[in-house]
Symmetry: C2
Subunit: 324 residues, 2 copies
């Protein structure tokens, strides 16, 4: 198949940004040959560090990620960076593509930074899976560091950032009454907390609240972090304040994983999650191959008319597939 | 099976709140007999109006839903109400159960209001599907009106509220720079916009922004709303301001669907979405039945060690199931 030709894989591995962008599109949009491409790329993966960042809208994630990217690009670190910005912005406004262009202008002189926005889940496969697959492509391309940023704090975002080696939860002062709700939902996925815009009033309160929740927990549910208390780093990303401290906290967590021999364990746990997600998608595809759009609509109409119950229908379809 | 005994279904249909709560638990937690229970309940569904409400954290959704509940419970409307509060609060803090109790105290004298919080997706099945199934139980129990409120604006929340007959998107003034992002992601699912806390500074700006986005759109992607411009209702839910106007906007949209003969079409579209979600879950369950936890972990370890590529593995598993 043309798509998995050594040309594309070789160009991508040689650092060709256009080949990289093309490979990502193939994988993200499930274009013909996407699975073969991932198979060809997989042996070249496993070298990149993957950092996930999430937090509520308005927390300043993009600015913080840009600051981190600059930090890791400096002479001392000299790492190549790939950024995946997962953004629920709809195709209705084209926000994601626009966002890419605006951010790329900042870094256009530096081929060492590659940014890709992902706006929507495709018709097949969840956003978490698509993000993981794009990270696989970036990893195979030889990027030293991959940052995945997600807007929001829903279950989707939690799944996306859980696939990272290091997960950073970004909060800001003055989020209003529901800050408790936000924090509760992501408390257990944070390896590191960031309080961004920490020059604003209320930063101390946010810090106290995090500390209070940490002291309440007898232990974190994620056993990997049994002997790790997520540190709280204060930043003002718009002024570059705290970036180095955050990078040190990241390095500190990586050192902890290494010292406790947990990096592999975390990796295995992540792959278990990914396998389930991949199986779910692949099985649905199989079921859909038997059910064209027309029959799906016909079934839906029969259910809406109460001529058929959906629970028995699904059992029948699944049963049929098992016996072929 | 004891669970689908006429006793439970009959008690639930007779308005017994404890039977209702028990049936919801069976369905939500996929306890033994859940599918049979849903099959037995399905013929009794299709009568309730389903209203979905979503918006960013801090928008005052719960307060607004409580106000609407009171409105629909008054003598003029006299409807029974079921509320499903989908909340990403983690089991770590037990926030959802606590929230239920606090909110139930407000309504404890009124058996005509039933509130249930749903915090997490189970190991099988997505949150959107679980919410839809719980709505099915409430519908079968004879509730006239079901309100589904979701915290957040991620893809999950979008899927959950899309299953409603009427979808309400709640915004508030002063959300910060990312309000644009939030609105963009949910612009096309809104049948009605609410600007809550509209006595705050910036309410006009939010309204102007919604209007601007509406005027930019040549037509809404959701064809059901081709001849409908989502109205903007301003509320101050904490003071009960605007509740009646919102109820009128809801009635207005329902009248539009009826007049244009679109209610059935919307119902069919919703069932198509739900069927895909149900198939996805059922097929995964089938795949998992062959793969116990131990072999899943072993596969994950082999992948983490790069002894095996996950893309070929998933193909093999799916292929095998097809040939049994």
């Amino acid at each position: 198949m043309a798509i998995t030709s050594t040309t594309l894989v070789d160009s991508l591995r040689a650092g060709d940004a256009r080949a990289l962008a093309r490979a990502i599109s193939v994988v993200e949009n499930r274009q013909s040959g996407w699975a073969d491409l991932l198979k060809a790329l997989f042996p070249h993966t496993g070298k990149a560090r993957v950092i996930g960042l999430t937090g509520p809208p308005g927390a300043g994630k993009s600015t913080l990620v840009d600051q981190l990217a600059k930090y890791y690009r400096n002479k001392k670190e000299n790492q190549t960076v790939g950024i995946i910005a997962v953004d629920p912005t709809s195709p209705y406004t084209g926000g994601a593509i626009l966002g890419d262009r605006i951010r790329m202008q900042d870094h256009h002189a530096d081929p060492g930074i590659f940014i890709r926005s992902m706006a929507t889940r495709g018709s097949l496969g969840g956003l978490a899976r698509a993000t993981a697959d794009v990270a696989t492509v970036l990893d195979a391309s030889g990027r030293d560091l991959i940052m995945i940023e997600t807007v929001g704090v829903g279950q989707d975002e939690v799944e996306i950032v859980r696939l990272a080696d290091v997960t950073i939860v970004i909060l800001v002062p003055g989020m209003g009454d529901d800050v408790q709700t936000i924090k509760a939902g992501i408390m257990e996925i944070a390896d590191i907390f960031v309080i961004n815009k920490s020059d604003r009033e209320g930063a101390e309160r946010v810090e106290r609240e995090i500390r209070a929740m940490q002291s309440l927990a007898t232990r974190m549910p994620h056993q990997i972090n049994d002997h790790w208390t997520p540190p709280i780093v204060k930043t003002v990303a718009s002024q570059g304040v705290g970036t180095e401290e955050l990078a040190e906290a990241i390095a500190g967590y990586e050192a902890y994983l290494k010292k406790e021999n947990l990096a592999f364990k975390k990796n295995v746990e992540n792959w278990q999650e990914r396998l389930v997600e991949m199986l779910r998608d692949a099985m649905l595809e199989k079921a859909r191959a038997q059910l064209d759009g027309a029959s799906l609509e016909r079934y839906a109409a029969e259910i809406a008319q109460h001529k058929r119950d959906p629970y028995s229908l699904v059992e029948e379809i699944v049963e049929k597939i098992g016996h072929r």
